[in-house]
Symmetry: C2
Subunit: 778 residues, 2 copies
Amino acid sequence: MMKYNYGTNELNNWLVAETQFSSKALGKAEATMCLGNGYMGLRSATEEHYPGEVRDLLVAGTFNKFDDNEVTELPNAADVTNFDIKIDGEQFSLDFGVVKEYVRYLNLKHAELVRELNWVSPQGKEIRFRFRRFVSFADKHIIAMKLTVEPQNESVCFALESGINIRMTNSGAQHFSEGDRRIFDKRYIQQCQTTTQSKIDFVINTAHTVRLGGEQIQQDVTMEMARRKVWLCFNIDVERGQCLEIEKITTIHTSRDNDGPADGDFATIRATGLAGLKSAIAVGYDGLFARHRAAWDEQIWAKYHMTLDSDNEYDLLALRFALYHLTIMTPMHDERMGIAAKGMSGEGYKGHSFWDTEIFIFPFYIYSNPAVAKSLLMYRYHGLAGAHKKAAENGYQGAMYPWEMAWPTDGEVTPVWGAVDIVTGLQTKIWSGFIEQHITADIAYAVWSYYCVTGDQAFMDEHGYEMIFDTAKFWSSRLEWNADKQRYHINDVIGADEYKEHVDNNAFTNYMAHFNIELAMRYYETVKAEKSELFAQLDSKLALVETHAGWLDRIDKIYLPQPRPNDAVIPQDDTYLSKKIIDLSKYKNQQKVGSMFYDYNLEQANEIQVSKQADIMMLFYLLENKFAPATKIANYNYYEPKTLHDSSLSLSTHSILANDLGHYDLAYELFERAARIDLGENMHSSDEGIHAASIGGIWQIVVMGFAGIRMNAGKLRICPKLPEKWSKLSFGIYWQQQQLNISIDKQSLMIITATDQPVTLTVRDQEYSFTNELIVAI
Amino acid sequence: MMKYNYGTNELNNWLVAETQFSSKALGKAEATMCLGNGYMGLRSATEEHYPGEVRDLLVAGTFNKFDDNEVTELPNAADVTNFDIKIDGEQFSLDFGVVKEYVRYLNLKHAELVRELNWVSPQGKEIRFRFRRFVSFADKHIIAMKLTVEPQNESVCFALESGINIRMTNSGAQHFSEGDRRIFDKRYIQQCQTTTQSKIDFVINTAHTVRLGGEQIQQDVTMEMARRKVWLCFNIDVERGQCLEIEKITTIHTSRDNDGPADGDFATIRATGLAGLKSAIAVGYDGLFARHRAAWDEQIWAKYHMTLDSDNEYDLLALRFALYHLTIMTPMHDERMGIAAKGMSGEGYKGHSFWDTEIFIFPFYIYSNPAVAKSLLMYRYHGLAGAHKKAAENGYQGAMYPWEMAWPTDGEVTPVWGAVDIVTGLQTKIWSGFIEQHITADIAYAVWSYYCVTGDQAFMDEHGYEMIFDTAKFWSSRLEWNADKQRYHINDVIGADEYKEHVDNNAFTNYMAHFNIELAMRYYETVKAEKSELFAQLDSKLALVETHAGWLDRIDKIYLPQPRPNDAVIPQDDTYLSKKIIDLSKYKNQQKVGSMFYDYNLEQANEIQVSKQADIMMLFYLLENKFAPATKIANYNYYEPKTLHDSSLSLSTHSILANDLGHYDLAYELFERAARIDLGENMHSSDEGIHAASIGGIWQIVVMGFAGIRMNAGKLRICPKLPEKWSKLSFGIYWQQQQLNISIDKQSLMIITATDQPVTLTVRDQEYSFTNELIVAI
């Protein structure tokens, strides 16, 4: 993908583009140029078909499980974007004929996908095509498309087949039973379907408007229905110099919608959908687009108002790309739904939520849009039901959060089988759902961060304390007493570094568990002292007093791996440092992640000092006060060379830490690498969808790293250090429910508050209290 | 498709070919060049992908029902034929680069699909490709493929990805749960899956053999597994002048196989499949191919030994094409399975059996391969269970055969909803499963024909009489007494002509029902008189004596529509002749069937004198003695102009009748048209699969029509009338278990028998009895 400037300067650094089309690497543009609004994600497959395309339309929260051998996933609902076009009987495809003046770009500012080109058919007819589409941010049920066709040299007969196709699957898994379908008035197409297991009803409506030379024309259409497919066929003669415009507006409604009728009655959804379509059609593409743009401007760009002056303009594009994707991936409309690891830009990770949300994306929302941060925590609060289920299944108490979470009450949904084992030829077992347990502490950490940054006491009273206590209750039951060492261990886990399975005392896990219990104990005292009614309520729910006794007994006996006296290296787990050291250069800078597994199976990798991603580094980032700077440096220098960054979660943490530790050039280099995970040259890295955590990481590198914003022990700290190439960075954050507008340049830090509330913060170890405005030379 | 001669004369008129490839009309070659062996059908999609391709692999009898809204169907099992090829990193596709010396042909004699071409890559590397494949007729579980690659101008790096892909669906309906998969020895790939509802286990095994310059080479492969997909990646440098050969052998086994372990245990099937693959791999493509060819030669071509001298060589090709497809579509290995309306060449009609089998295909088997004819009747005998179920559901007695039949015990499996209604925009209801009832009599007719032609008394004693009695029992309960007219009517049916729904007293249905009861009454007397034990047995099973009383009472009161006194036209039903007559020329010779429904809905068509297919004509063909020649002519002249031939079942009947009635040129013209239904120029007519009944019809036109072979009142009658362009036709038939070799030329008919058994027959109203040889001047 490339930066692209087009037309006025107004759109400089707003366009992610390609100026050449290749039908051999479709996934990149499909995912990185994905459209969405949190309600749904529409992968940007082209209107015409190519082999290998992935045409996903995913609706948040509509999970379905294909069968008992599989895990629940977001089902691929329908293809409504296909235009099957023939010019004088010849199939329109960029694989045939000649393509001129080609550009396809995602306009991040307007959240619109545009494709323009001249196509010379094999017969020699030249036609200008302009394809536009967006997924409305103003009315979340709407997908709008517009096509203009202008014959350049000769008149043409333009034929179009377009409708609704529900033959779609998730890599072969069909999640829907076909329901009723109908064509009203030879124009409005309606297709119903219901997920096979979760029984969620979907209603998809679509209609076309055709204009020739600016005039809406009577459509001479034929209607077609085949299995799981309904469509219309248009045949229109277009003269040279004439402009044909075709608009297609589609609406999606489901029985899971929280803005629909309470009973979710199918007939009502059908009527609502059809009525919605008819009023949208009356407004038309341009009118709907104006509303959509306004919504993006007001709710996103004006709210986050982030600007950056960099010698490398790509940096600003990357940042806007991040804000764009963070917006479209987040189901901010419904607190029963979480953020998926690939957003809704592909089928990878099945729409499940991981620790990616709390550790990589959540900071963006706490500081930029606290209401959404709260909604994301509410998703986890609703998920307590599933967490209890998982704890009980594993013989523990309290809330043991699933490694992968789908619908809140589902519990653990991590699939059990993965890629091929090169030694046995069998499928590798995925252990994360069983033993990657730090997620529970990660969620507690997020609750704590949210509370510290927002001061949202109501949330804590109603939900937050309960989550902290319930998760600490799990950890308490999880600890294993080692009589020899007279300590509590956490054995047989996967830590943050997923290349080490079945390890004992993973440093990250042990510290985070300790943090979680410690936090619960602190809050226990507060709630007990200050909120007796709430305390009684939570005690009856969680046996809090009894549970607290356990914490008290255990907290100081939890084993926390310490730096080795000789070199200050903290053992990542009990055996890591005793494992074989090999030359990893072959795998360290590969194009494709996981290349090591063409040479080793997981069992063999387990015996080598090799890491997939940040583990101890993550600890340093999250619990920064627990470790001395020298320890951080020593461990960075020890572990980074052994880390393959095979997870997109690795680079951002390393960049922030590199900045903290004074490796400024490296920090910037890692930022650039992180930005290129999706935007970069590797044409297949985004095939399964964009990397949501990495995109959150881009924002974190900028704001937590270069701007140096950090919540430290409940206080706001700013420690800016812009990269060499950057002259100015400004953005807004929320602190204790007040908006702070922050500008940083080479000389100074300026903060302007939106209200008269006083603000206290630290800038480079110096505490400041101010109202309205603060300027600090740096 | 075209006739193609290649190499030696030996293969003249054996090759169905295309010499130009178009990725825009894939279905034609996929279906008409389909491979199979009755156990499975493998649609001939190309090795590389194109949009719109349909890659079906169907295994007979493995029906599965996606959900309660759908009907059971043959599931698309897997794609094992895809070769994803890159030449120096460039995707191999005929849509790119330059294609030279292209030919793709189905060799009917060897049942092998071959594709040869030179491909000049966009970079300018020229490579000769030769793709071959067959579905073994010697070992029905085997699919074998062979690819040769020869760089023509420069050395190339050849990359191949190939394995097993079970992401396949039937137009979006996924029928399988994914099972275990494994790669043994980095070579043998095994993928298991199980149908979701019928719980049939499938095991697919595949392996590759690579030879470079004739020497088998060690494969440096990487192994990949993704969801529902397992494959290997090969990278091989091939020098100019070198020949790279890749063989891929695949085996399919299922728990429905009747040659597998009795308990159908999954582990045993896996072991059997893998062992089968290993021994096949040891034999190799060429060895397996030799066995396969020998099987076709011995079991098919030598057995049917049909020859034809025609001025139009295409006629012979069409005839061989028919014999080829009749062979691969028929599950002759298992009497629990029937012939599907599209064979196993596509998903159309879901693998279901219709009256197409008994009326259009069955004559071929009675005369050419009676053992298979018996197997097909046994399928219907097993189907009595389903027929009883359907009768009971509809409030009738006896055996009411399903209009569409899948697994014998399933009963009725006709889908309920079809294409769009152009007036209401709703889906049209398909009534055939409810009221197209003549199928029951058609099956009785087939039993009778089989018995008359073969004299297989054992079959009649064990199964045939019971089928005749049980079906007649149904009809007896089905008749409706009309007190006004003092006759039995059959109201509210669809006759053979499906454009008339809910009609009363369809002539075809009434006559066939009458035939069925009359036949039962005749056999009742025989069995009662000659086989008292059997009679007692059937009486206790079917309440025969009581049922017989009903027949006796009803048989002479069944209303049989008679020719009108003024013009000898027999009313097709009670109201047909009173309906509107319109100009049908717009629809009469259209490319696409059903074009009338773009202007009228079915309800409206019901009010017009228009027919989809032969109805009264079919009656004349099946019950030829019941009608006077003048009546036949009058009705032909009245109904044919009103018949759109929108069913592929229409032309063959009309051709045979035209020949009978002396319209010889028309008969030949209709033969040519029938042959072109699949082989002709309409590039989309076979998209959903070949037309099995029409292909059976091709054979019938030749043997029943032009050669004039007919069983008439239990006797063999020959009344040859070759088309003008034909100088000689010869073929074998079986009559009363003796093979007769028949040669017809312009002057004479010659019959040579295989044994010394005397034969009695009629040639043009003259009776002959002879042994060994008969020559009659004509």
